[in-house]
Amino acid sequence: MSIPPAILAEGVQKSYGKTRALAGLDLVAEAGSVLGVLGPNGAGKSTAVRIFTTLLAPDSGRVEVAGLDVTRRAAEVRTRIGLAGQYAAVDETLTGYENLVMFGQLYHLPGAIAKRRAHDLLERLDLVEAAGRLVKTYSGGMRRRLDLAASLILAPQILFLDEPTTGLDPRGRLAMWALIQELARTGTTIFLTTQYLEEADQLARQIAVIDRGRVIAKGSADELKAQIGGERLEFTLAPGSDLNSALEALRPYQSGEVQVDAAERRVAVPVTQGAQRLAAMVRDLDAAQIALADLSLRRPTLDDVFLALTGHTATETKSETNEVDKPAEPQFATRRPA
C-alpha cells in the first residue's frame, strides 16, 4: 500500500452567502513535505485551512487529511493535526504555561504529561522566562510562538500554519522561519499560507498560488519563476534619456513583455542568457546615448510570477467585489534591486 498524501483536496467549493471563497480548489501535499500556499487578501487561504482542520464543512469536493475524510472522520483528524491560525488563539488571562497545560488536557493527555509537555515546548520556543506571565503582557512575536507551541502539543504529523509571520518584525519573522525549518527537517508535513513571496520561496519546496479560491499555478519556486522566463534587466533612465530609444536598443535581447513605469522612468526587460549578454546590452544602450541612473540584472521574483499570472501583484490589496478579470495593466512590481 502506498502512503496516502498528507493533504488531499479535490474540487473543494465553499461560499459564505454570496461570497465565493473557494471555487474548486485542488491541492496535494505529500507526507513530510512543506506546501506553501500563496495568495493575496481574500484569496481563500484561511477558508482552506479551516476546512482542512475540520472547523468548516466544504459545500462540495473531497478533502482528506492524513488519509482521513475531514467531514466524516473529524475526530480522528483532530488527533493528527496542529493548527496555528491567522491570529494567535491563546487565552490572554492565563499565563503561557497555564495555556499549554490547558490545551494539553483538552488534547486528552494525562495531567502529568500535559504539564511536562508544556515545559518542553516553552523551552523549545524560547518562552521559559515568560512562562509565568499573563499572555496579556506578551509581545506579538511571543504570542505567535505560544500559539505555535499549542499546536505542537501532540507532535502532530501535519501542521497548518495560517500566515505565521504576518505582523511580526523582521527578527520575529526570522525566528519563526527557523522554527518552521526545524519542524520540516524532523519530518512534519507543513501546510503554510502566506502573502509573502519570499516566505514561500524560503520555506516551501512546493508552492501553490491561489487567487479567488482556485489554484492558478503550482510547482517549485524555480519552476514558477521559469514560467515567466529568464532574467530581467532593470534600469532607471537618467534625466534627458529617451525611453523609446532605450527600448529600441534592447529589442534584439528582449524575450517577453516589457514593463515600464513611466513616472519613475523605470524599465524591466525580460531577457535570456542575461549574464552572458549583459556587456553587449550595456554597450548598445551606450551607443544609443542612453544615460542610466541605475542598472541591475535579476532573476524574476514570485511577485513577477503573480503579476504575470493574475495581472495584479500579490501584495496589492484587491477589492472583494472585483469579479471581472481586468486585463493586465503595465504596472510595476515595486521591488528595488537587491
Binding site: L55, A57, G85, A89, T93, L106, Y107, H108, L109, R116
Partner: protein, 273 residues
C-alpha cells in the same frame, strides 16, 4: 525549572475514554480556566455584585415609599424580583465571554482539538454558576441589611436560592446562544439584555401585577420570568404558590433543552470572524 527529560513522542497519545467522560472532564478543564479568570478580571464580578445592591437600595428607598403592596412590607415583596433580576443580569456575562473567545480565535483552537465540543460552553457555564452563587449570596446580604425578613423555613429559603440559581443557569445558556450568534462582544452585552427587559420589568418584580393595565397584566401573568419570581416569592414568604412553582420549573426545563441543543449545534458550526 525542573530539568527532566523531554516527554518522549510515544507518550504523547491522547487517552481513550467514553464520550460522556470527556464531556465532563473537558468541561472541568474549561471551568477551571474561567474560575482562574475571576480574580484576574475582577471588574466582571464587581459589576455583577454591585448590580443587585443598587437595585435593592434604589427600590427600597426611592420607590419603596410610593409602592404599597397589601399584606407584606415592600422590601419583603421586592426581594424575589431582585433575586431573579440580578441572576438574569449576571448571566449576560456568559455570552460576552463566548463572543470574546470567538473574536480572539480561541473557539477555532478549541474546535480543532479532539475535546468534547459541548465542554467549551458547559465548562464556562459551570464557572458562571459559581459566580452567580456569589451574586445570590450578596443579594441575600444586602436584603437582610435593609430589612428583608423571609418567612417560613430555611429549607424553603435554600430552595428559593436554588431556583434562582437554576434561572441563572437557563439565562446563561440564552446568553451563550446570543454570544454565538452576534458577532461583537460589545453588541452581545447590549442585545443579550435588551430582549429580556420586557420580561424583567413587565413582571411582578417590583409592583404587583394587579396595578397594571389589562393587556400588560395578561402578558405579565403568564410570561416565564413572572412565574419564576412568583415561585421564588412564595418560597421566601411562606406563601406556597404551587402552580407558579410547577410552571416555572417546566419553563426552565423546556427552555434549557431548547437552548442547550441550539447552542451546541450553533457552536459546532461557528468559526471566528
Amino acid at each position: 525549572m525542573n530539568r527532566t527529560l523531554p516527554v518522549p513522542m510515544e507518550r504523547l497519545i491522547p487517552l481513550k475514554r467514553p464520550a460522556l467522560y470527556w464531556a465532563l472532564a473537558d468541561a472541568v478543564v474549561v471551568a477551571k480556566r474561567q474560575i482562574r479568570q475571576i480574580p484576574r478580571v475582577p471588574d466582571e464580578l464587581i459589576t455583577a455584585i454591585v448590580q443587585p445592591v443598587i437595585i435593592v437600595l434604589l427600590f427600597r428607598y426611592l420607590f419603596g415609599g410610593a409602592i404599597h403592596v397589601p399584606g407584606v412590607s415592600y422590601i419583603n415583596y421586592l426581594m424575589a424580583g431582585a433575586f431573579v433580576q440580578s441572576a438574569i443580569f449576571a448571566s449576560a456575562n456568559t455570552g460576552v465571554g463566548v463572543a470574546n473567545d470567538l473574536k480572539l480565535g480561541l473557539v477555532d483552537r478549541f474546535r480543532s482539538l479532539p475535546m468534547a465540543p459541548s465542554a467549551v460552553l458547559t465548562g464556562r457555564i459551570f464557572a458562571d454558576l459559581i459566580r452567580n452563587t456569589v451574586v445570590i449570596l450578596v443579594t441575600w446580604g444586602i436584603g437582610l441589611l435593609v430589612g428583608f425578613r423571609p418567612a417560613g423555613t430555611p429549607v424553603a429559603w435554600v430552595a428559593a436560592s436554588a431556583l434562582v440559581l437554576l434561572v441563572s443557569f437557563v439565562f446563561s445558556w440564552f446568553s451563550a446562544l446570543m454570544g454565538l450568534l452576534i458577532p461583537s462582544p460589545e453588541a452581545v452585552a447590549q442585545a443579550g439584555i435588551v430582549w429580556l427587559l420586557p420580561f424583567i420589568f413587565g413582571s411582578s418584580a417590583f409592583v404587583p401585577v394587579d396595578t397594571m393595565p389589562g393587556w400588560l397584566r395578561a402578558f405579565s401573568d403568564h410570561q416565564p420570568v413572572s412565574l419564576m419570581m412568583d415561585a421564588v416569592r412564595g418560597l421566601l414568604l411562606n406563601q406556597p404558590n404551587t402552580p407558579a412553582l410547577w410552571q416555572a420549573l417546566v419553563w426552565c426545563g423546556g427552555l434549557l433543552i431548547i437552548l442547550i441543543l441550539l447552542s451546541v449545534w450553533v457552536y459546532g458550526r461557528r468559526t471566528s470572524r
